[in-house]
């Protein structure tokens, strides 16, 4: 699949934003007194909303006819894209309610618990439905599995966690518990991604034989029929050399997981704490951007079978 920059930005930044918002709510409601204070919580929420909004705006650049984008919520009953859009839009009033609750200190402890849980769950559900946009497509084996939404959620939570660390560090220099939790998140996200890489390892989907109905003999493409690129070749024909894909997988593991985990582990004593977290955030973002690029570049749409691929 052709990796479109707008979609990569959309999924990575909005995922990180929802992750950050969820983690902020959970942290604030679980620990009674913490260094952030109301001001820090509000700042964290605002940054999260900024990331989410940036992502959503970026996603509209992918549309060939954006003036009809407002219609995108019509088919919530069947379409994950519509569901994602609706969840994303409805998140704003919920987030606003949460922030007003913090800002004005309204409602009692129970109300805070309820609205925190609601916001956090809503944020995670929105990342889940972003993942389901891809996971529900039977035409792309590399996406059509349960690891896709899991990876989206874990990577969003991981990036959100790293940004949260950075924000907290502006208020309080020693935050061992949070660093440990963040490291766990990185490790879990890394494991899920590594399992995914193995899962999609070798072609195992439909073949050129079932695609053409000649299931008892060899089928080879003789002539693809077009003399120049088509919508189909541009959108689905994107191919990267296998060696390059493997190299990029290592870069994902390095930037998204290894460097952030290492600086959190050994860097805390060596460097100023905000430098440590800044490195972790930047490296994490670079890694997840490459991860998302690979997510598209490695996906093989079954229409390629008609263009001569033997198995997808």
């Amino acid at each position: 699949m052709h990796p479109a920059l707008s979609v990569i930005f959309f999924t990575v930044t909005s995922g990180a934003g929802y992750g950050l918002f969820a983690i902020t709510c959970l942290y604030n409601s679980i620990s009674q007194s913490h260094p952030l204070g109301d001001e820090g919580v509000l700042l964290s929420c605002a940054i999260a909303l900024g990331l989410i909004t940036f992502g959503l705006i970026s996603s509209t650049f992918h549309l060939a006819n954006p003036k009809n984008a407002w219609r995108a919520f019509s088919r919530v009953r069947t379409s994950w894209l519509a569901r994602e859009g609706l969840l994303a839009i409805l998140f704003y009033p919920i987030a606003a309610l949460y922030m007003v609750t913090i800002w004005k200190g309204i409602g009692g402890y129970n109300w805070l618990a309820v609205i925190s849980m609601l916001s956090a769950l809503w944020a995670i559900t929105t990342i889940f439905s972003t993942g389901m946009i891809y996971a529900c497509l039977k035409t792309i084996r590399q996406w059509h599995n349960a690891l896709t939404p899991i990876n989206y959620i874990l990577l969003g939570a991981m990036l959100g966690g790293l940004i949260f660390l950075f924000i907290v560090s502006m208020y309080e220099p020693v935050i061992t518990g949070l660093v440990v939790t963040s490291t766990y998140l990185i490790i879990i996200a890394a494991i899920a991604k590594i399992v995914y890489f193995f899962w999609i390892g070798t072609p195992a989907g439909p073949t050129i034989n079932t695609a053409t109905s000649f299931t008892r003999s060899m089928v080879r493409l003789l002539d693809v029929g077009h003399t120049a690129g088509t919508f189909l070749t541009e959108e689905f024909g994107y191919q990267v050399a296998r060696a390059r894909l493997i190299a990029l997988r290592w870069l994902v593991l390095l930037f998204a997981f290894a460097i952030p985990a290492l600086v959190l582990w050994v860097g805390v004593g060596l460097m100023p704490i905000s430098v440590v977290f800044a490195i972790a955030v930047i490296s994490g973002f670079i890694g997840v951007m490459i991860e998302r690029w690979l997510f598209f570049a490695e996906a093989r749409h079954v229409v390629n079978l008609y263009h001569g691929t033997q198995q997808c």
Binding site: N65, A72, T139, D223, G225, F231
Partner: protein, 230 residues
């Protein structure tokens, strides 16, 4: 009704007449134009609802060249419709034709991702998705003579490799021919239940290219030669 096509891979000669007729009819039809880019330039490209590819099936000498026209299969379980967030893509209750409402489409390509058969193409000029309409603007047109109320591709096919009709009617031409000749769905394992059926070439014995001279004297000579060789 369940309208669709049957395509006979035994008789299709790969002449591309159906694709040209389709383009000609539809570019001025309800979903037209089928925009072309650089039509007279070096790399002409554009929107087509029907594309023909060519395959070699089997190994020489038991091989055959198969010409393979593909347009929308008007699937019974059309994921292109269920994934469309705007409601622009829809499947008609009355005859099962899958269409795109150009006024609602936002050009997100999602339906094209969901289609296994490459039947949908974005018109980059209009910014909307376009696809085979099963010539909905022909088949119901009462201004046309009754025997011309067929898709343009079916009308034009010189080798009569394309049939159009109602699969819900067990006695229609398409039902009978796909029953008799085992009409196949493409990629049935994905579960889209494509309505269009493909008839595979009839199985025939391979005809030798070189016919060896055979007569009784030669047979005796061969036999003697083999004996001596031992």
């Amino acid at each position: 009704m369940k309208l669709g096509l049957v395509i006979d891979l035994d008789t299709c000669v790969g002449c591309n007449a159906c694709a040209v007729a389709c383009k000609q009819w539809n570019t001025s039809g309800t979903t037209g134009p089928l925009t072309d880019f650089e039509p007279y330039g070096k790399d002409p490209t554009g929107v087509w609802f029907n594309r023909i590819r060519n395959y070699e099936v089997g190994d020489y000498p038991n091989s055959k060249t198969v010409h393979f026209p593909m347009s929308c299969m008007h699937c019974d379980d059309a994921a292109c419709v269920t994934v469309c967030p705007t409601g622009a893509s829809y499947k008609r209750e009355e005859d099962g034709i899958v269409l795109v409402d150009q006024d609602k489409c936002m050009g997100c390509n999602y339906c094209a991702w969901a289609c296994p058969y490459g039947a949908r193409e974005l018109d980059r000029e209009d910014g909307v998705m376009k696809k085979c309409t099963l010539c909905v603007d022909r088949i119901y047109d009462e201004n046309l003579p009754e025997d011309e109320r067929k898709p343009a591709c079916v009308m034009t096919c010189p080798s009569h490799a394309r049939y159009f009709g109602d699969f819900d009617d067990p006695n229609s031409e398409v039902s009978i021919i796909s029953r008799e000749r085992n009409g196949e769905q493409l990629m049935p394992e994905l579960g889209y239940e494509p309505v269009n059926k493909y008839l595979r070439p009839r199985e025939k014995k391979n005809v030798d290219t070189y016919v060896n001279e055979t007569n009784s004297i030669k047979a005796v000579k061969d036999w003697v030669n083999r004996l001596v060789a031992r």
